[in-house]
């Protein structure tokens, strides 16, 4: 754990709290984004946390970075923070230079891109933020195998689409476009590691959103009165509050264990289990929070939907529940000799090599 952690997180949370309000989050649905906020985080070195010094990094480790991502999720910050930092993280992991400026990535659909003589062709859908970013990091197939490549999005044909929360999820098409950097060929293990990390970044954002939804909901039960009393006095509402608290605690504990495991390299399926469990958490948290807010929570005007719609969108992006249940099922089959308990508690049982 980095000693800077508390300080960094304090600074970031303050910046987000002061600069991100409901209206700012809404601009994303008008096709805009919060470039000022990005500038602020960049100035303060937050976009380079966990990047090595050789690459111009500002210190901090992966745990710090994931916690910043959690905070951007907690404030629904309309900036490609996790996309850029994760793209850079991928580049570093494969011994490439980090990108200078806004970046995005796509790891799914590895069949999509073909690399030939340093030129990329192919198409990817649901690419986050493509229209607003400069660098694209993705996997591409060449005759030798699979590589990580970085390419300038200026060469792409970009069609605008959005996810359920109005965040840009564009179609990106390249035709014989020149790549800026190419990694050595990657093993399936290395690609598996990348996917694990991608999911860890997504879980960080989701954790932030869940945390915020819990805050909003508890607060609302204290403010809203019916039948002459605040609604938290009704036992059925109390039951909602308890279930919501449980899901929030589960999410935060899972997230902290992920960062810890990644940092100490004893990643024992924490990411897989967490991603599968978040499926339930998201469903419960969204349902409960809307039920407690009742009509006001179904309005565009209220902030709640900025978080619930994000969770509903994010759960179908990247390596989803079905990917991770496959991974766990395969492992269980391969470990058929072990008792479940032996398998669960085996800390060497790691998908990830950092």
């Amino acid at each position: 754990m980095s000693e800077m952690k508390d300080m960094i997180l304090d600074v970031v949370e303050r910046m987000l709290k002061e600069n991100v309000d409901k209206d700012l989050v809404d601009i994303i649905e008008q096709g805009k984004w919060a470039s000022n906020l990005w500038g602020l985080l960049e100035e303060n070195g937050m976009t380079m946390v966990a990047t090595s010094e050789a690459n111009g990094g500002a210190g901090g480790d992966l745990e710090d970075l994931l916690n910043i991502v959690r905070l951007t999720g907690k404030y629904a910050a309309p900036i490609p923070f996790s996309e850029t930092t994760f793209a850079n993280y991928l580049l570093e992991q494969t011994n490439l230079h980090v990108a200078n400026g806004l970046a995005t990535y796509m790891l799914s659909n590895t069949q999509a891109f073909v690399l030939e003589d340093g030129k990329l062709s192919g198409e990817a859908i649901h690419v986050p933020w493509a229209r607003h970013t400069k660098h694209f990091v993705t996997l591409a197939n060449s005759v030798d195998g699979i590589h990580l490549v970085e390419i300038d999005l200026g060469q792409a044909e970009i069609t605008h689409y959005a996810n359920l929360a109005g965040e840009p999820r564009d179609t990106v098409k390249f035709q014989n476009a020149i790549v800026s950097q190419v990694s050595a060929t990657l093993s399936f293990d290395e690609i598996g590691t990348m996917t694990t990390l991608e999911t860890a970044f997504q879980l960080a954002s989701m954790t932030g959103a869940i945390d915020k939804i819990n805050d909003l909901t508890v607060q609302y039960t204290k403010e809203r009165e019916q039948f002459g009393r605040p609604i938290h006095r009704f036992q059925l509402v109390q039951q909602h509050i308890v279930n919501l608290a449980g899901e929030t605690a589960i999410a935060l504990a899972a997230f902290n264990n992920i960062t810890d495991a990644l940092l100490n390299n004893h990643q024992n399926n924490e990411v897989a289990y967490a991603r599968i469990r978040f499926e339930e958490a998201i469903q419960a948290v969204a349902t409960i929070s809307h039920q407690v807010h009742a009509a006001i929570g179904t309005t565009h005007e209220h902030a709640l939907n900025q978080y619930t719609r994000r969770l509903w969108a994010w759960r179908d992006e990247g390596a989803n529940t079905s990917y991770w249940t496959d991974v766990v099922a395969t492992q269980l089959l391969e470990n058929s000799g072990d008792r479940l308990w032996d398998y669960l508690t085996d800390t060497k049982n790691t998908v990830i090599k950092l």
Binding site: T287, Q291, A294, T298, T321, S322
Partner: protein
Amino acid sequence: MFQLPTVQFTKEQEQFRLEVRAFLQEEIAKGTFIPKCDSWLSGDDPSFSRLIGQKGWIGITWPKKYGGQERSTIDRYILTEEFLASGAPVAAHWFADRQTGPLLLRYGTEEQRELFLPQIIKGDCYFGIGLSEPNSGSDLASVSTRAEKVEGGWLVNGQKIWTSNAHICNYMVTLVRTSPFDGKSKHAGLSQLIVDLHADGITIVPIKFLTGESHYNEVFFDNVFVPDNMVVGEIGNGWTQGLAELAYERSGPERILSTFPLIDELIQELKRQNNSEGLKQASKVVSRLWALRNLSIGVAQLLESGDSENVAIPAALVKALGTKFEQSIPEITRLLVQTYPTLDATRKIDRFMAESILHAPGFTIRGGTSEVLYGVVAKGVVTQ
């Protein structure tokens, strides 16, 4: 209490179902409407309302002298099921057909019936439901919109909120306080007025739903004059009159079928994939649907036979269980089929998913929250 009648459809009724179905399929093919989830609240299309008005399919149970068909509640049930199963845009006339007509037939004056029912039946006249206020949701009896007696009528001041489709409605049946709270019963002193939404002093402000669309509104009253002949039933009897319609409102197929187009598409998709494991899972959904349908149609039959004594609890149960079921459909679907929900998706299942996910929170809120219904059921079961 849980003994509900069963329903066997007559040959004519089976025939009627097929007739409605064929009509809707034809209109879909012609491009008259695009099937949607939750079409009964969010699919407002006056031209479609007029089209089915011409078929005689609005106010189908009402007396012939107003233009109705005097058909049975079960016929209406069949008709409604077919609309919902096809995702037809029936929202514009929905409340007038479901609530206002029956209210006027029970409590309205002859003048009111003659004025409104024929227009409703034609699909030309839409009614909103003016109950909720900013500070009165579940605690409906605490409404503070008030009407003061003046020469020849009532002067209304206050505000309603969440009024579905008020922006396209002609009138709103509005629950108002006509005498101040007497310190004893909150239910006394409430009355129902028919308010012309184009009258002077009315301001309608749309509220954006979380999808960005506008289905519901705020309605403001600034010295709005409502003539005496627009009072429904008796002054001071508004609460009792409103309660009388609750069983209809809570037990209909719209409490089960709001996401039916998605269920249908899920099954189609699994069939296309030849996914028998997925279909096994989906068969549980189908069974849940059918169990709820048995419950709901049993209540309809009870209402048809005029037994309003025993209907409150099963009707509340239909809404509590049915809306939970409708709400669960996108959550179940996404575990059986890979989807990427967006409202403008070209793949049907992705669009139905987006509509269902975004509208689902409202299912267990509108028309009385589940928590309030649990209270009704628990109290009712214990008292009986």
